[in-house]
Amino acid sequence: MSFDVGVTNKSKNSESNIKSMLFLGVLWFSLFVAFMFLVILLVTTFMNGIGRYDLRLFTEYNNTTPKDAGARAAILGSVFVVSITALLAIPIGIASAIYLEEFADKTKWYNRAIELNIQNLAAVPAILYGMLTLGILSLMGFKNKNVVFGGALALALLILPVIILTTREALRAVPQEIRDGSLALGATQLQTVGRQTLPAAVPGIATGTILAISRAMGEAAPLLLLGALVFITYDPNGLTAGFTTMPIQIFGWTSAPQEEFKTLAAAAIILLLAILLTLNAIAIFIRNKFAKRW
């Protein structure tokens, strides 16, 4: 113990300085490690794909000879399946969220039970949605389970909880005063939701929905369970047609013995990444562009 307050403080300060520097160092190192892995992965994948960044990646169907094979069916399949997924999941998800957030009586136990279960559903492993869909398709009498409708259904079930949760979050962020103001003017609950709350929440809803869609885009597990790992050499045509998607196609190529298929897979991975990054960039753009105005 020293009575020289100034000196004591100074040494204490430098001690805590060293500690916080160390701590900061650890944090930076962790970030560095995580980031390096990502960079290495990206760079090696990119290098592996060299030789197949060509137009035929987009224009050719899959083929047993690697140099003639392309991801056309997979790209169009992804777009088609994910579009149907969006059509199924977005309206139902947003409507459910509106009901739960704006109309449901939160003091009732069943509404709280629904809320809790949706949160749990968001954490359920993706493959389970594949199994559920398998069951639904059997009940509906589908012999062949690898159909566009089945894939879209599985992915829609998968992202539905995410859409509901992010939409509720966005609705909850709209200040209560806006609803009060609208209702006090003689607007109905429905008008208030439709003309005030929902428009004010659109940026948040759009962001969450796009992120959910990009999740559906990159998902393979539930589709594999439906038997989507098949050789497709035609464009997707109809809800009950067979299909493949990019993650499935990539999975198929990486497990093929020929080295050229691995190159093709790497190129397709980079393409899929580019699509996902674009989607996420759009989501970030929307979020920033329409940042809260209240």
Binding site: E177, I178, D180, G181, L183, L185, R195, Q196, W294
Partner: protein
């Protein structure tokens, strides 16, 4: 300077005129309000005079906002809230079975403590009420109504060149006048104001006070305020609320007295009112 003193003199003339004729537009009898099991406000009996400004004053938590919200049935929207007793509005039971709460809110407008413009343009803020309440109007009629409402709220001069800008681009005082204009646009009968000047500076407050006095020739105004001078300056009648603790230890709000503002502020009947007004009670 001269202008405002003339305004003040006119105000006092008007003031005494208004006080002379008491004509109830709303009669509250034995009103009780519950939030779930909580019996928040008990046995309020009070009349609101037509074309008068009635002020609700009293310590925090004594139920002023609660009673105010009952007057246009916005308390219906609070989950678990329940009302007992009777409120008559122009001779009709406000809580009667055939009464549409939406219609009530259209006729009895409300301005909140915190200015709450919609995240829309100034024009759309005003036009919103008429649109949702189904007033059939073409473009030029809407424009006229927007101009009228903004003029009545004393805001037209300040915003006429930027009607397409966001309501958030205005200052707090302007936002509050925008909210008043928004309420006026649906041509209400009564305007309820819950501490409308609480977040405003003295100049903006004076503007809103002048505006209330301006409006009361056509409307009836009920205002909740924590500002004694404000109640004394603008209101014709004042209701003093206070909180009590019942034998089960529950705190509840009740009405101590209601009378002409001049009487309440110079010669109140109840000593509790006197204590509160003179700042001895809080």
């Amino acid at each position: 300077m001269t202008e405002s003193s003339i305004g003040a003199r006119q105000m006092t003339v008007k003031h005494s005129d208004r006080v002379a004729t008491f004509n109830p537009i709303m009669e509250i009898s034995n009103l009780d309000v519950y939030y779930g099991d909580f019996h928040a406000v008990r046995d309020i009996t009070l009349d609101v005079g037509r074309n008068q400004i009635t002020a609700f004053i009293g310590p925090s938590g004594c139920g002023k906002s609660t009673v105010l919200r009952c007057l246009n049935r916005t308390n219906d929207l609070v989950p678990g809230a329940r009302v007992d007793g009777r409120i008559d509005y122009r001779g009709h039971d406000l809580y009667g079975p055939s009464v549409d709460a939406i219609e009530v809110r259209r006729r009895i407008g409300m301005v909140f403590q915190k200015p709450n413009p919609f995240p829309k343009s100034i024009f759309d803020n005003i036009a919103y009420g008429p649109r949702v309440t189904g007033m059939k109007m073409n473009k030029s009629e809407t424009e006229d109504l927007v101009e009228y409402a903004l003029t009545r709220a004393g805001l037209w001069g300040e915003v006429k060149d930027k009607l397409d800008q966001s309501g958030f681009a205005l200052s707090g005082g302007q936002q509050q006048r925008l909210c008043i204009a928004r309420a006026i646009a649906v041509e209400p009968d009564i305007l309820l104001m819950d501490e409308p000047c609480a977040s405003l500076d003295p100049i903006a407050t004076a503007l809103i006070e002048d505006l209330m006095i301006e409006l009361v020739s056509d409307y009836t105004v009920v205002i909740v305020t924590h500002n004694m001078q404000q109640a004394a300056r603008v209101s014709d009648r004042t209701a003093f609320f206070s909180a009590k603790v019942d034998d089960r230890g529950q705190r509840y709000g009740h009405l101590v007295e209601v009378d002409l503002t001049t009487k309440i502020f110079t010669n109140p009947t109840d000593t509790r009112t006197e204590d509160y007004i003179s700042g001895r009670f809080g």
